[in-house]
Symmetry: C3
Subunit: 480 residues, 3 copies
């Protein structure tokens, strides 16, 4: 590490023994082709991390404002000066690099390009570039960075992906990226370039299934309740209560969907436990649908929280709604007109019932918010594994239990009343209690000491195998 | 990389081939001058990252508690032992280093000092230090770290700045900083030291403009409504409704300011688009005022969210306010006294209107909160560029649209009523609808297919140049 | 840095001069013993960061699905191939490594194991492993990583701990960990292994004291108010208002506990200031109880925020509660029956009082939420030190002041009324005002110019020492 060139030793004699002499090697410039937004932002950032930057441009003297400290040269000169060349140019204009082939021989070309849509070209941009300049080594990567994030220094800790056929070339790029504060993930050979190019075009892929479920549930319950409430009242009693469509119906549908989504978020874990119990091992893969389901539990939980939030706000504004105030006033006037002696007796059971209902709702919402907060990346990241699992599993099931109880209390005295079942259909809150109740019952089964013990052993690697227990049991169990 | 000293090869023969032999070189100690809070915390952290630490102290035997594992020496001995010296001493006491000049020759001095106020010294601390010890290489940096953050390990991923005239020295410091989990940004030569020293004294510079706008708007609308509501009632009707100043007025001003701030947050983007359309290129810089405006959009949006939050809470507590309950009760009593037959007819249109009003408000607030959540650094950082722009641009404009509609419905039947215009002034909610309506109309113009197509092409680098289209158009468009 | 093996020079002649030749050295494989969840996830992640991975397995041909790109060998062969071996096996099965002792000689064994409970073994797993394989160098660490986090790429910026007796071995492991995006903290020699193994078993240790205080306060005030409100009404007036236990009592207890917790969060800072003033120096350690208290201020503040949040929701749902609506209706009916002429006079003072009460509460809650947001790791991390201290100290004290004022206004006209003191006990809201008032008064004393000046000097390192001021004062003050 202490060997340097003679020239620099003489130039700065006192600093010869400083260890980061590697720095001197890196002062070889990095080259950027393309002086657009991305090229300029990337150059700015590279300069800030202490690198030398050279731009390659067709007309070096009229390429607009570039970051201070960067040099501009012709493409040829820039390619000669550097070993690492960042290509910040649209794919449509790659052809000019064919003419530079001799200068680009042996260089590492980092393809940062993205396309506007998927599948508009037969091959990935990076593969195309490699075909144009076979003498160079193409690395695809860093294409998830936006000019905006580069300029505003929002890179720290961000993950970026690389792929390429040469490990050395990828290492060179990874080193530069690490200096910019990025975390690099190697995605393998250049054949992965297509995936990387599709990545910035992704639009919440892991949210699609949960959102689809949420929308379907909302639509179903909305129409179900529309028929039972508004249309029923119109058909059977001739009353027009269509105004309820806006707030009242919404405030029935939101808690229903929220509770179902929350239970769907804990159902796969319970199913997985039963799979493991039935199979007697944890080493067999779950069916694909279960895997997919388990991977979107976080999103399901967050959507459930969103619906719970909407439910809470809808509840808070109940008393200021016109219809509610009108009902209150007309009730009083009614009471007075009919001149009852005890116009409105205080019912202690009713007071206890509704207050318990509200307390459970508030507590459930509070825990909901707590669960949501711990799923923020920066909060969850600061928890130990046991803390995270305590919050997400124990507290999560408690939340589900409280919210289910909230639902049961809502209908506590209506389950056995015939008037509840308009047109022989159960009300929405009864329907929505089915899934959470099932989840809670199954979870309680799992928590039975005998079942829990078996499950814990299975999860620690133990296997229930009839024939080969002697020979494999011990070995499998050695793995964490 | 495989060359080590003979001694250690013999001592640990099996480990000779381990690659991080660099570790052995780094076991040269790092020196810290100053045993105050910062010195001790820095030393603790350096020890934790596996470095050797030597303190330089004037009286090594009575300098208070130091982190376990650190050595204490005289300034001279410590300076000799290390190449990298962290100066954790107040500027006022730098003079003692002049006497150490011979020992400090060729060393790297890292100046971590800050001042209590701006501009109390003619030159930056680091420049002063360099002048005192010309033989050493001064690097300014890490001065944004607090002793508190160092002790509590809150450094991971934090950005720190360095500046200095020697690249090698900066690299050496950057390497140590990276080992502590910091991300280093090089800010150039030692002349930037003043900026770095002013940095910890900054107090929300990017929030100043938005806060100033918010405060001005709040003050203006507050007095405007005070005159129109309270003073008007007092002058024209002789009624004292001054109690409304607290909650009622606030709950009128907050939504107004929130909506205006939200639209001001999307206005610059629209203006920028028109600039680009008019100029036919994206390569000319925007005027300074527009640049500045665009850089504080996030802060504007967050302040708008704050006001919306206040508006929501003010709305939730409406029914428990004394004045509101009094009005409700006296209204009932009034109805009864006058013995109307249909005391309070249910108005279906009114029910639909107010409920729609509330639903739009709730939905708008929900989206507002969603926007706010995605601007949390840890959430925004986990989104792809397309996801982020989807949330902040598309969802943002939808939020603006919904909130504007919320405002329009509030006044739906009052626009054409003359009594609305007290003293010939429009009510506040009408005034506040002007800016959002303009933004939405302009945005809709931009979304027209023909305009959108041109704008997309311009943003991809295309230029509308009359004379030189043939020669430059193609090349400019090559840049991402 | 430019020396490479002849073979690779010939194979890829153009790339010889690429600097990250270190990459080639690292392409020596990393070995993983154990093909369980953790082993597989770790291997996947290592492959993604560009490392070669070799699994050691007792039956290499039937060890289940492994990440693509990894090789599987016998334990012996794998141990031979690599220098760094990750042990992902339960402690109970470590004995098989005794038989591999010759192959493991000179290797670095990274012990990632955890135990299910504390203190079930006499010695730490890593120490046991070192005893089994004395020829190898054991490094304990990375044991806080879960298979789940590894698989889902949730590592970026996470802190991990290492300990071991060999600095070289630790450096080697730290380098690999850094490549995975982790930040490494060295915790010293292998004797720290026990601490590291206990770490994943921790369950919110820093939350215990604040939670205990919060639960005690809640229980105390709950029973105190139960006696004063419900039992008093039953005993003295024979009324059954037990339904109040659910919501009304809770909504009295929550704000009380919240305010006390918030003031307890600022009290230690004030006490510390008085300690420093009294001692005339900042260089003497605070008593242990004060240190412990100061370290859990953040948690106290967050619990206070939780209680404030519960208080807010309880307040929002007041008007929809059965008991409240009943009271409202019966009041109107009552008024009408008794046929008063001015049934319910509007009281301007009452309107001002209650509205001020609400405004202060809303403002206090808003600032509370702001304080909570800035204590999110990702938000707090982006603030400069001055900004953070502005928010947490200045804004925090303002919040405390506003919330205390909110409490005082609640009881503004009841302090001097005898009926307030049922059974000669003060109401809860008076009790809870004691601590915040003390904190605010003490804080105001500190803010007096003369006190503030002395304190600032002390915090900058000045010492009030009678005898030795001349000789030590100057030097002590040199430290930041």
């Amino acid at each position: 590490m202490t060997v340097t060139s003679g020239v620099s030793e003489e130039a700065k004699p006192e600093q010869v023994t400083l260890h980061p002499l590697r720095g001197r090697v890196e002062q070889e410039p990095l080259c950027i082709f393309g002086t657009g937004d991305l090229g300029r932002s990337l150059g700015l950032r590279l300069l800030q991390t202490g690198c030398r930057v050279v731009y390659g441009s067709r007309r070096p003297h009229s390429c607009g404002p570039l970051p201070e400290g960067a040099e501009v040269m012709s493409h040829e000169a820039a390619a000669k000066a550097a070993r690492l060349i960042f290509i910040c140019v649209h794919r449509e204009h790659y052809t000019f690099m064919e003419t530079l082939a001799t200068y680009l021989k042996g260089k590492v070309l980092v393809d940062l390009s993205n396309n506007l849509k998927k599948d508009i070209y037969p091959e990935a941009n990076a593969v195309y570039l490699q075909r144009l300049v076979p003498g160079a080594t193409v690395v695809k990567g860093l294409n998830t960075l936006s000019a905006w994030a580069l300029q505003n220094g929002l890179l720290t800790g961000k993950q970026v992906y690389l792929c390429g056929n040469s490990t050395e070339a990828k290492q060179a790029v990874a080193e530069v990226a690490t200096k910019m504060g990025l975390t690099v993930l190697d995605r393998g050979s250049l054949s992965a370039a297509r995936d990387l190019e599709d990545f910035p075009l992704r639009l919440f892929p892991e949210w699609r299934l949960p959102l689809r479920i949420a929308v379907s549930l909302t639509a179903f319950f909305y129409f179900y309740l529309l028929i039972r409430d508004v249309i029923y009242a119109y058909v059977e009693q001739g009353k027009d209560i269509s105004y309820r469509i806006m707030v009242s119906l919404a405030n029935k549908v939101f808690p229903i969907v929220s509770l179902v989504m929350l239970s769907l978020c804990y159902l796969p874990g319970v199913i997985a436990a039963f799979f493991q119990l039935y199979r007697g091992t944890k080493y067999r893969r779950f069916p694909n649908w279960l895997d997919r389901w388990m991977l979107c539990r976080k999103q399901m939980g967050l959507i459930a929280l969103g619906f719970a939030f909407l439910h809470a706000i809808h509840t808070f504004i109940i008393p200021i709604r016109y219809a509610v105030r009108h009902k209150l006033i007309s009730r009083v006037v009614d009471e007075m007109k009919n001149n009852k002696t005890t116009p409105f007796d205080f019912d202690n059971t009713e007071a206890w019932g509704t207050d318990s209902f509200y307390v459970l709702g508030i507590l459930g919402f509070f825990l909901y918010v707590l669960l949501g907060l711990t799923s923020l990346p920066s909060v969850g990241g600061s928890l130990s594994w046991r803390e995270f699992s305590f919050i997400q599993s124990k507290l999560g099931h408690v939340t589900l239990f409280i919210c289910t109880a909230h639902g049961y209390i809502y209908g506590w005295n209506k389950f056995l009343r015939l008037a509840t079942y308009k047109w022989y259909t159960p009300p929405g809150y009864m329907l929505c209690l089915v899934v959470p109740s099932v989840v809670l019952v199954l979870k309680m089964l799992i928590l039975l000491p005998c079942v829990d013990r078996t499950l814990t052993r299975i999860r620690q690697g133990w296997e229930r195998t009839q024939s080969s227990e002697e020979e494999t049991g011990g070995i499998k169990a050695t793995n964490l």
